[in-house]
Amino acid sequence: MFGPGESSVVIECAGQSTCTVIHSILTSLILFSVLIVGFAYTTVLERRFLAFLQARVGPNRTGPYGLLQPVADGVKLIFKEDITPARAEKIVFWAAPVIKTVPALIVLAVVPFGPKIAVPWFDGKWYRLSQGLIDVNVGVLWLLGITSIGIYGVVLAGWSSNNKYAMLGGLRSSAQMVSYELSMGLAMVVPVMLAGSMSVGDIIDAQNDAPILGWFVFQNPMAAAIMAIALLAEVNRAPFDMPEAEQELTAGYHSEYSGMKFAMFYLAEYIGMIAVSTVGAAMYFGGYHFAYVDQAPLLGPVVFGLKVVALLVVMIWVRGTLPRIRYDRLMAFGWKVMLPFALVAVAWSAVAVVLDEEVGGPAKLIMAVIAWGLFLAGASFWLGRVGRKSEPASAARVEVVSLSGGSGRMLGVPSALARAVSGRGGSAESEQPRSGGKRPG
């Protein structure tokens, strides 16, 4: 591993204004380029992986394995006419895609991507600097606040289009995002409590224990699950893609958008996916911590990136598996399931921390084991019960899902989830005429 030699001078970057300026400008540029490239290849990943789940091929003609597909898409979109509807509110219509994109881009400003490293500079000295833009001491609040600003892009797009579908999409998504933001915030309280700090860097460092056992997901699996679901809802991904439910609202809030403005919504969605995966990985999956990262700090971003990609794959897998939730169930789930359980998760961690302090010793470990036991038991009970209760309707439903979902073997647990999500009575589905669905014999 390369590093500063015995004789070389290592200077702490934080104290030097020139160094901090150069560092932050370079980090901004690197972060933006990584996010743009990440966006491009997340679209390819999504299309290829969805195609795999649906037993299709996916885009594979543009370049090797379809790797040049995003370039082709971008070039195509930039030469497409950008239609502004006559009755739209011009300025807000223009601003909405920008307002949707900016929060997704800047939310990662407070996340460090690796331990501090020493870097040689042209003046022959070494500088010790963090692998991230800036680690402010209210990082978690920053994440929460910037996510809540993200609602505006959707609301503005829906309002300015002067279109009924867009309007409904905007309204729906604002109500949905505020509902799930609450659970997200509560799930973020747990890492703050466990780490005793609101800086994302401190939260990540508090999870540095053994290879992976320090991760907060092992101390409070329920909070981690709530966080994952809430983040999924926050970026309006399936099965929470209510605002743009194409079967009911054509394209929801971006019905009227075309050309480059539409591309910006697309960009915002995928960068938002990357951003929330990063936040999730930082909060509950140890951030950049894994075996050997402490010895080789440059591995930090790689490890972090791999975790983010893993979470992205899970998000796409969920999209390929689960049907969309009906809107009333979505709101009921957010308020009557997520919120109470999030409160319980916070209370659990509070009790665990107090026990750890008052009793000490193995209290923490015991609480973690009990938490996992309860979590797994509860989850399997819920999924099993939901599956049994609605056998006829949901069996047909699952059949439809797996017809489009390709190999049934891959869909083991998620199809139970699909049954759970599609509802106990299956009333939404049973009311609609199902021509394609075959009932299993």
């Binding site: 979109l77 239609i83 920008v98 009924k164 867009a166 403005k261 809107y327």
Partner: protein
């Protein structure tokens, strides 16, 4: 020093604006522009729009936002408490339990009243 880091976040914010704005402006220059009346109509799956998009929406959206506001304030109180929690001990847990219990009572009331039901 403390301010410095926020200035960089501000710069990052400013750069973040340029990033989505540039392609849109670029698209404006490069893309063809041939508007006509039919093209600029409000999209409604091929039929002409009847009335204005400002139809009556259900007030339920507003109720959810209202309940959210109350719990958002609670959330904000939770953060400093959680931050100092490992230095506080049992009494703080008790106090926060009381605090949250009162709000849970309110939530249960809202629930029982049917305000959380989307029907």
């Amino acid at each position: 020093m403390n301010l410095n880091e926020w200035i960089f976040i501000g710069l990052f914010f400013a750069l973040g604006w340029a990033l989505p704005a540039t392609p849109i402006v670029l698209g404006k220059i490069l893309a063809p522009k041939r508007p006509n009346q039919v093209k600029q109509q409000t999209y409604e799956c091929g039929v002409e729009m009847v009335g204005s998009p400002w139809t009556q929406f259900r007030a339920q959206y507003y109720i959810f936002a209202l309940v959210f506001l109350v719990f958002d304030v609670e959330l904000v109180f939770l953060f400093p408490w959680a931050l100092a929690y490992n230095q506080l001990g049992l009494f703080a847990l008790f106090e926060m339990t009381v605090f949250i219990f009162l709000l849970v009572v309110a939530l249960v009331y809202t629930w029982r009243k049917g305000a959380l039901r989307w029907s």
